[in-house]
């Protein structure tokens, strides 16, 4: 039997239907992006308060100040959040890491370092793809993983452009020496930097920023972008503040100066 017209129409129809679905899907996946809209009273969050959209937490990192070989932020984060070492670079959990970068294809190019963590995007792709809304953006802009709800499908790790996420692939137990303010982890759950949300909720700054100021070179500054008088707002108003991969439109809330 040769293929007749009906076969071709059938096949063509199936494919057309598939194509239509693809385009409809992508249409609703883009929303307008606005930033630094409100001019609100500076709001301080205290224990027991609800996170509110009056705040918009973010960070500015001055790379020129970031010291070579200094890993105060990484160490502080590991200590604060009880991040373990698995001795296997492929499986290790990283909430914050130091990245070394240089011009590609230029021999002897200058090397620079910068810390990178979760950038707490305004339009977080990880939260968009999470099937159970375990990853979500809190009212004050912090992108969090609800470890109680995560099913471990790892779609967020596929969707994150910044490789901010780690999957716990080994059993870890709470240990007596741990920081008791931060519960630890269970294998099968995805986790990432949460801007030390427990500290923010009691009015402190993230551990990495604190240790960068105290032990490092003060390259990291944390604050509220909604507060026009805050240090971070002042810094992002300069022309030197940049986001990583702005072309993607995720609008990270971590800015870098001197890239």
């Amino acid at each position: 039997m040769a293929l007749d017209r009906r076969d071709f129409l059938t096949i063509g129809g199936l494919i057309a239907a598939g194509t239509a679905l693809g385009s409809v899907g992508s249409a609703f996946s883009h929303t307008a992006s606005g930033h630094e809209g409100h001019e609100a009273e500076p709001a301080v969050k205290r224990t027991g308060d609800r996170a509110s959209s009056k705040n918009k937490w973010g960070m500015v990192i001055d790379i020129e100040k970031c010291g070579e070989g200094c890993d105060a932020c990484v160490r502080a984060c590991r200590k604060e959040n009880n991040v373990p070492h698995f001795d296997d670079p492929k499986l290790d959990i990283h909430w914050i890491r130091k990245i070394t970068f240089k011009q590609k294809g230029v021999p002897g190019a200058e090397e620079r370092q910068m810390p990178a963590m979760c950038f707490h995007c305004e339009h977080p792709p990880c939260a968009h793809v999470c099937p159970v809304a375990a990853t979500f953006k809190r009212a004050d802009g912090i992108v969090l993983v609800d470890k109680h709800r995560c099913i471990g499908c790892r779609y967020c790790m596929i969707a994150c452009p910044y490789k901010a996420r780690s999957f716990v692939s080994m059993h870890v137990e709470p240990k007596p020496g741990d920081n008791r303010d931060v519960p630890v982890r269970m294998h099968g759950v995805v986790e990432k930097c949460n801007f030390c949300v427990h500290r923010i909720d009691s009015g402190e700054e993230p551990a990495c920023v604190e240790s960068c100021r105290k032990e490092g070179n003060g390259a990291m500054v944390f604050g509220d972008f909604n507060d026009r008088a805050s240090k971070v707002s002042e810094m992002v108003r300069t022309s030197r503040a940049r986001r990583i991969r702005p072309d993607l439109g995720c609008d990270p809330q971590v800015f870098y100066m001197g890239i």
């Binding site: 039997m1 293929l3 009906r6 076969d7 096949i11 199936l14 494919i15 598939g18 194509t19 679905l21 693809g22 899907g25 992508s26 996946s29 698995f86 296997d88 492929k90 499986l91 290790d92 959990i93 990283h94 890491r97 990245i99 970068f101 011009q103 590609k104 990178a116 792709p125 968009h128 793809v129 999470c130 099937p131 159970v132 809304a133 375990a134 709800r149 995560c150 099913i151 471990g152 499908c153 790892r154 779609y155 790790m157 596929i158 969707a159 994150c160 490789k163 996420r165 999957f167 716990v168 692939s169 059993h171 269970m186 294998h187 099968g188 759950v189 995805v190 990583i244 991969r245 993607l248």
Partner: protein, 401 residues
């Protein structure tokens, strides 16, 4: 319908059946065993890492969903599209569709880090997540497939037609959704493509047809029932055409991607210097998985030989598996770009090509899923009248040819 088709249960007394069921059962048992091991140990026992979070289980899942959607469309050919020559194996195809989607759901869920939280997705619907949408689509699809099968058994022609139509629509939606899981990921050049949903459907149809040919042939041979060879020729042709469509999509997708300078790195990784991935692509997928089976199926002489068509079907099944692998894996191997034109390194393996090779556990896991489908099929044709006593070719069609 010109001829009344009589379905009966198979006897299941032959030693071939016993051997098949023992082998399939043993394989099927591997599935929950490997899943339990994975659940209690954590994913460090596989080669999935923080660089390559999705491995063989996801490859299997989309492969099985594809084969399921393809089978369902074939099953509905007779009732919905009025093609009498597909009638004899309509039930078998619908059965396969249901079994395959069950195995696919197992593949997805057992791969979660916390499969014990299985009920969570049903309580937290997230319309923007392709996974969440698909969870609903897959469940609906499975339920509809079962009702459709039931309608076929009770000779409710009108209902069967209606359900078949819905099921085909849903199959297409389900598989487009599966393609969209990857196509919508805009941060990875090798995923992001509006062509993935339709291309998934084309591959679903071709692999579904290949699976049907294989199932038909062996079922009829081992039950000693009569299968008119023209069924195989016909399905072979259909498969050939579907493969051409797959080739077309793969061609367009890669050409489009390669055109933009910003994608040179990603495109050339897959097509030119990706090591084993490039070899898999050109030799495994394009040559052995697509071109050769298409030629066999569409060529006049080989297209009339059951043996050749069977060989082409096996090649096509393996080819589509490789296609799924090449969709899922290389996009994760390629490092994410932090800054264009800058080289980056870090303790988290940023800026480096990741490594992935299927681990033993993932092989066992995948074989287990195949075992589930085989065991379910063997059991179902023993329990219910699925297989026709004789698959004659409808005569009135011969006249039009």
């Amino acid at each position: 319908m010109a001829t009344k088709i009589k379905h009966t249960r198979i006897e299941g007394k032959s030693s071939a059946y016993l051997v098949f069921m023992i082998v399939a059962g043993a394989l099927a048992a591997l599935s929950p065993l490997s899943a339990l091991y994975l659940f209690f140990e954590g994913h460090h026992v596989t080669s999935m890492t923080n660089q390559v979070p999705w491995g063989m289980p996801i490859v299997m899942a989309i492969y099985l969903i594809g084969a399921s959607a393809g089978s369902l469309v074939l099953s509905a050919m007779s009732s919905v599209f009025g093609r009498a020559e597909y009638k004899p194996f309509s039930r078998m195809a619908a059965l396969l569709a249901v079994l395959l989607i069950v195995a696919a759901l197992m593949a997805i869920i057992m791969d979660w880090g916390r499969p014990d939280r299985i009920l969570v997705p049903f309580f937290h619907f997230q319309p923007r997540s392709m996974f969440s949408l698909n969870a609903i689509l897959y469940s609906l699809y499975m339920a509809l497939g079962i009702v459709y099968l039931w309608a076929m058994f009770h000779n409710k022609e009108k209902l069967e037609r209606l359900l078949g139509l819905c099921a085909v629509a849903l199959a297409i939606l389900v598989h487009s959704g599966t393609g969209a899981i990857f196509g919508f990921v805009y941060v990875r050049e090798l995923y992001n493509s509006p062509l993935l949903p339709p291309s998934f459907i084309a591959a679903a149809l071709s692999s579904g047809t290949a699976l049907m040919i294989i199932t038909l042939h062996y079922t009829f041979r081992f039950t000693g029932r009569k299968l008119d060879e023209r069924h195989v020729h016909n399905l072979g042709k259909l498969m050939g055409v579907f493969i051409l469509v797959v080739i077309y999509f793969i061609f367009i997708e890669n050409v489009t991607r390669s055109y933009a300078p910003k994608n040179y790195e990603a495109a050339s990784f897959l097509l030119l210097h990706g090591g084993k991935y490039t070899a898999y692509f050109w030799i495994g997928l394009v040559l052995m998985g697509l071109v050769v089976p298409a030629i066999i199926a569409l060529n006049g002489a080989t297209g009339k030989s059951v043996r050749w068509i069977l060989a082409a079907s096996w090649l096509q099944l393996a080819g589509v598996m490789l296609e799924r692998y090449l969709i899922v894996i290389p996009a994760q191997i390629l490092p994410l770009e932090f800054f264009p034109n800058k080289e980056i390194t870090s303790g988290f393996l940023d800026g480096q090509f990741a490594e992935y090779s299927v681990s033993l556990l993932e092989w066992i896991y995948s074989l287990g899923l195949a075992g589930v489908v085989m065991f379910g099929y063997g059991l179902a044709i023993r329990l219910w009248p699925m297989v026709p006593t004789e698959a004659a070719y409808p005569e009135q069609l011969l006249k039009t040819n």
